[in-house]
């Protein structure tokens, strides 16, 4: 009886990349503010990763519109009880933060670095928002399963955290930084994030009960349980712990977390498609 909005791959990628962008940024801001000086390299990677991703996110949103040329119409209103309305603004504001933080991540000036850290703390809030608001957007629609999931936003945020950190970890590896302390810290942060995500996921499924059937059984069950839960969280968590000794495993873990994060958004969105 109810209608699905017809959001497909461009929106699934948006959810995924937006989660990474938000997660990478807030991880960077935390590392920048609470980590050691050596962690500023990790912070820079985080800031720099979030910038192109946010730009890409913006593009994905515009392209998905029925009339893309009217994307600025989102700026006509700001409805504080409407996740999509706030989200439209927040993407732009967050984009500005990622730009400033990215530029400032190259500074050698201590005062500018200090400014960067302060800016990071504010931008971090927008990062949290970007990673989670799309979940709240889904849970405040009329479609069953989405509408029943009070923890969708919380889950998306945790996933944004784990995928953002995994992406940063991967970039640390690719830029040859695994020898440094930053690698261990990002791995540790990701590990904590995965554990939190698993707990939230368990609560999410428990609260939903049979309403979760669109992803826990039927067409998407294999993908959800196999692709997201096992391969996307449980296995990478184990590999992450083992990765303490064997670096390669940590890298594989990061890749699997990313895959799992994509699968999560894929099954959540696509299970309502018809």
């Amino acid at each position: 009886m109810l209608k699905a909005p017809g959001w497909e791959m461009s929106i699934i990628w948006y959810f995924f990349l937006g989660g990474i962008a938000g997660g990478a940024y807030f991880t960077a801001a935390i590392a920048d503010n609470f980590g050691s000086r050596r962690d500023s390299a990790v912070a820079r990677i985080g800031y720099l990763l979030s910038l192109p991703l946010v730009a890409l996110c913006g593009l994905l949103l515009v392209v998905d519109l029925g009339v893309p040329s009217r994307f600025l119409n989102m700026m006509r209103v700001l409805k504080l009880t409407d996740p999509m309305s706030i989200g439209a603004w927040a993407v732009g504001v967050f984009g500005a933060f990622t730009f400033v933080s990215s530029v400032l991540s190259f500074t050698t000036s201590e005062s500018l670095a200090s400014l960067r850290r302060k800016i990071g703390l504010v931008g971090m809030l927008f990062g949290f928002f970007l990673a989670s608001y799309t979940g709240v957007l889904l849970s405040n629609s009329a479609l069953p399963f989405w509408a029943d999931s009070r923890l969708m936003g919380a889950l998306f945020l945790a996933s944004g955290g784990s995928t953002g950190m995994a992406a940063v970890a991967l970039l640390v590896f690719l830029t040859g930084g695994t020898a440094g302390e930053g690698w261990h810290k990002i791995e540790r942060a990701d590990r904590y994030s995965m554990i939190i995500e698993l707990v939230i996921l368990a609560a999410f499924l428990a609260l939903l009960g049979s309403a979760a059937r669109p992803i826990t059984s039927g067409h998407f069950a294999a993908l959800f349980w196999g692709g997201m839960v096992v391969l996307g969280l449980v296995v990478p968590l184990v590999l992450n712990v083992l990765g303490h000794r064997v670096r390669a495993l940590g890298v594989v873990s990061a890749v699997l977390v990313l895959v799992g994060g994509f699968v999560l958004r894929y099954v959540v969105v696509m299970s309502q498609h018809g």
Binding site: G66, R70, S193
Partner: protein, 256 residues
Amino acid sequence: MARTLAMFTDTSLCIGCRACQVACKQWNELGLEQPEWTGGYQNHAHFTDKTFRLVRFVEEPKPNGDLAWLLMSDVCKHCAQAGCLEACPTGAIYRTEYGTVNINQDVCNGCRYCVSSCPFGVVAFNEQTGTATKCTFCNDRIHNGLSPACAKACPTESIQFGFRDELVAKAEKRVETLKAMGFKEAQLYGADSGGFLGGLNAFFLLLSKPSVYNLPADPKLPQRNVVVDSLLSIGSALVVGLGALLAFRERGKGDN
């Protein structure tokens, strides 16, 4: 604010002729559309971007062997608390001074959030225009002293148009009359402005439970959980942020 207008669809008078469905298409110039096989006379399972008034045919075999064929002209409910309106991020969906809900086709950019935010599945996406569409309550007609096209076309006055308070009073009397005639399950749907969604400006008289007509028994505003969900997200952020903090901080040294 002008007096609220409403449409009262009394299904006890409906003969399923589809004049309403066609009059709406003609007035709104909705164009050619492929029908669907639904197993009976109904030619679309639900509302589409080109069918704003949809006549539903429900065969209800009764335990005593009799058959009831429930005929209902369904339409956008123009809810007093409208999920589509709350969801719209461009302000394209607005409420007129008459209380009706309309989608401005020049502003809508086709994000489709409203499509998933209607508890009745009314709003649909038009691929050709790239916008969301639904019943306009014949916005142009009511602003020129005319009734909506569907109400005008209905031969048995099953669809009645007028001021909401007057129609509700009429409908309440009608339910009592029907009950006295033996229609034990006759009931109003959406007439009560203290009821769900603040009342519907297109409300109905049904001859059976709402679920028989595929209507939700107690529809709610999808946005009612925004605060709770946001708070839970904030909680999640705090925990995840704390985890990251614990992972990165230098023990006992602060952020030097």
